[in-house]
């Protein structure tokens, strides 16, 4: 999922370079063709393109175009149950890949439009993001690794905000997920309360969220970009979150800094492994980044050894039957 979005983002950035030269063409295209193609591409008219008049709140033509193409790239779809409006003036759309959510890490995008002229709003924020699962049988509630506030997705088009949620489990007859958030613009805000969302289970051979306990805190390792992996050298991203003392409150990104060593193996091929993998280390933005080498397609277990700043093993030191760490993500490429 992230792959397509990133690629799309790259495309968008490339386009930006030429955009001033071709802006007139774009505007022409917007009028003539794109509205039509967009209707073909998506089942529901998510956002109809609009060329804003001089409205300070709204994006200019270039930004509108970039935001529009991003949200209508064919991969993203609106999660309609999460729609909301502010004072009847602004409408918020929440997007994910295919309009679905699944166990493990999910990218989520927000776009706010001005109802009066359908223009994308430049300046808004999403806060208090709170996914909560209610375990019906036990009458318990718990949250999941998530960010609580959105950030601007891409500076070239200020109309799209990004956040992520990593679901520890899927919706089932034992429990259901609800998502709340607060959207704010121009001193107007609204709190969206607890829409029930569907979190799909992952296919067999896909396990993208693992946890370990260290010094009485439970940490969660969310694999960000498994959908991007292919045969060859891959950049691998992950987040480390920690469980909130109040389990029903969001489990935010941990302030701790670890090093996550990875050994990918193919359990079906006698644990065939690949050389030259690079451990995930924490970047300035808080994301962990490393290099993952996959020699062929199929099921890979990415065995993890988590170390603290001093290099002491925090988790994943114990072996399972294969002789590799029993803490592992699984991806099938």
């Amino acid at each position: 999922m992230a792959a397509d979005i990133r690629n799309n983002n790259k495309k968008v950035k490339m386009m930006k370079k030429n955009v001033y030269q071709i802006i007139n063409t774009i505007v022409f295209l917007l009028f003539s063709g794109l509205t039509l193609t967009s209707c073909k591409e998506s089942d529901e008219p998510a956002v109809s393109i609009n060329i804003p008049a001089a409205d300070e709140e709204c994006c200019n033509a270039e930004e509108t175009f970039l935001a529009y193409t991003f949200l209508n790239n064919g991969y993203l779809k609106e999660i309609t149950s999460l729609r909301d409006t502010i004072d009847g003036k602004y409408a918020l759309g929440v997007y994910s890949r295919g309009g679905n959510l699944h166990a493990g890490y999910n990218d989520i995008y927000f776009a706010l439009t001005k109802i009066a002229n359908q223009g994308f709003v430049r300046d808004f924020s999403i806060t208090e993001i709170s996914p909560v699962m209610t375990m019906t049988a036990m009458g318990m509630k718990h949250a999941t690794p998530t960010v609580t506030e959105s950030v601007l997705y891409d500076a070239t088009f200020p109309a799209v905000q990004h956040a992520w949620i990593s679901f520890v489990m899927s919706s089932s007859d034992k429990g259901f997920w609800e998502l709340s958030y607060k959207v704010t613009t121009q001193n107007h805000s609204v709190t969206h309360n607890g829409s029930v969302i569907d979190v799909n289970p992952n296919a067999a051979g896909q396990e993208w969220l693992k946890s370990f306990k260290y010094q009485d805190v439970t940490y969660y390792l969310s694999l960000v970009n498994p959908g991007e992996f292919q045969t060859g050298i891959n950049t691998i991203y992950a987040y480390v979150s920690e469980q909130n003392a109040d389990k029903a409150k969001p489990w935010e990104v941990s302030a701790q800094e670890f090093t996550i060593e990875i050994i990918p193996t193919m359990p079906d091929m006698g644990n065939h492994s690949s050389p030259d993998n690079v451990a995930l280390t924490k970047q300035e933005s808080g994301i962990y980044e490393g290099k993952l080498n996959l020699t062929m397609t199929g099921l890979w277990d990415i065995h993890l050894v988590v170390k603290d700043k001093d290099g002491s093993i925090v988790a994943g030191g114990e072996n399972n039957d294969s002789g590799y760490s029993s803490l592992y993500w699984s991806v099938t490429i």
Binding site: G232, I233, M269, H272, P275, L294, T295
Partner: protein, 664 residues
Amino acid sequence: MIVGIAAYTGVLLYSLSQIILTPDSIDREESIHEVTVTSTVGSKRKVAGKGRTASIEEHLLQLNNVGMVKRGAYAWEPLVNNMSTERLSTTIDGMKIFYACTDKMDPVTSYVESGNLQRIRLDSGLDGNPQATGNIGGSIDLKLRKSGFEAKPHEYNLTTGYEANGHLQVYGADAAFSSQNLYTNFGAFYRHADNYRAGGHQEIQFSQFQKVNAFLNLGYRPAPDHIVEGTVIFDRATDVGYPALNMDVSDATGLITSLSYRREQLSGWFYRWETKAYYNHITHNMDDKTRPDVLIHMDMPGKSSTAGLYSLLEGSKDNHQYQLNYDLYYNTLFADMTMYVEGAKPMYMLTWPDVGTLNSGLLLADNIRLSDEHSLHLSAKGSWQYQRVNSDEGFRALSIYFPGMERTKTGWMGRASLSYAWQHNGWRIAAGTGYGNRAPSVTEAYGYFLNNAFDRYDYIGNPHLKNESAVELNISGSWKGDLVDARLEVNAFLFQNYIIGTPDDRLSPMTIGAAGVRVYQNLKNAQIVNASLVFNITPLPWLRWDNRVSYSYGKESTGARLPQIAPLFYTTAVKVLYQNWEGELGGELVNRQDNYSSKYGETPTPGYAVWRISAGYQFPIYSVLANIHIGVDNLFDRYYSTYSDWNHIPQKGRNIYINVSLQI
């Protein structure tokens, strides 16, 4: 040169052994060896030995310095001077053709039939045939059988053979029509074999095969000395078992086509000019579906296609006879592997990442007759090669092991050789030297986790390999008298940057149960030396006793032995040719291979002796010329395997065969 060979062909037919060492027009018998598969020249014996019912490999084995890597009963891989495919050039009538199996289950000799061929020419060492490239060990050119304009107006052949061991059946039929300006010959062959039995009646599972082959040659002479010729060969082997491997071949199909234009009787510097364009395509499907107890089934198909052309000018002036050849070809090799795990997504990788190779070369060769006693031969070829990994996925996968590798590679390669011969009163002494190099093969440069069932290692190609080069030295002395005909030959190949797979403990194998991973590397140097002594006695005009002893030696820079180097070998044969009868009693006595290469996964092979006996009779029935041949191979049902048999796969036990051919 061709004229010389043609003139000789008739003479050669006296030979019972099929070993025909053809002197080229100017005293080059040391480097050119030929085996006549079938001949339409003259009224002499049409079929020798098993004749057309013998496989190409059986014909090749008659030649000096040729060995075979056997992985089963079918598609053996030729070794020349103890070097295999990578260091040899194999062409069909000058056409380049490349095998499509990553496990070398389909040497290109497996895509033709004895019935397609007139003869096989083998040039030992660096002095190859004009179209050969990368031939350090030697070059094999399979000469197709074309009836020509001067042959009988029509001729029909029927051939059938049966071998009791493995119930091998061979059926062949072909027809030839010739006229002043037009000729055609076409035919079809079918072979079928069940599992064979090794010595002691042990059945070798998965040694069956089946093959059909059809060919068509057309010649047209629009005007005198202008000749247009076309060839189509279709060859398909199905259900081929490879008992020495874990996989079999469901289907190996080759389509070989060519169109050529030839000018004869030119005046001036050149007397002949031939230009040929060709295309061939091979698909090879290897899998283990028929094998029991396989945890993870896999498919490993491969594809090879080659398009090319060559243009050859031949001429003579004064005491020079020379050739000028230009050739160009483009080959693509693609192979992949899919492994099926129950309930999971299949695993997939490219084993040959769709590699395109463009190669273009120019050859000059000259035979100089200095006097009746002294002659010189020179040849030189330079080639330029461009190679590209066409598959993104394959390129990315290899980049894991070779970060920053280039997607394309260009380079020069070449060879030059010089030989001198002196002959006087039946004595002949010749010495030659040469230098040449070869680019790494696609397997060596880009192969990806190719499991070698011999040493149980997974092999990874190395795109950073340097060209391998070698200096060749050869010397021979012979004496030919009425009673005795003897020849001693020694050749040595001194390699630099010898390419071979060396273990990399850092890497994890892919194949379950593999011993480890080897990556192809350039060794600083290596040496191969071959020596052979041939001693033939002809006490009576109808009786001949042939003997050959050969010894080889191979070592690399660390002092370790090279793999697949033949041990001390002795072959002997008593041959009788009396009126329409022929007979042979022969034996092969091979020493235990003590000089095996433990470093490269070899284990010792015990010595053995196998004997054979055969008799043939040729007789006319009205206008039909019939030839019947009966023989027994491995007379004493010896259980044995040769030094080069993959995984010591035991060879055929006692085998009684009979074949009959009719020519109308």
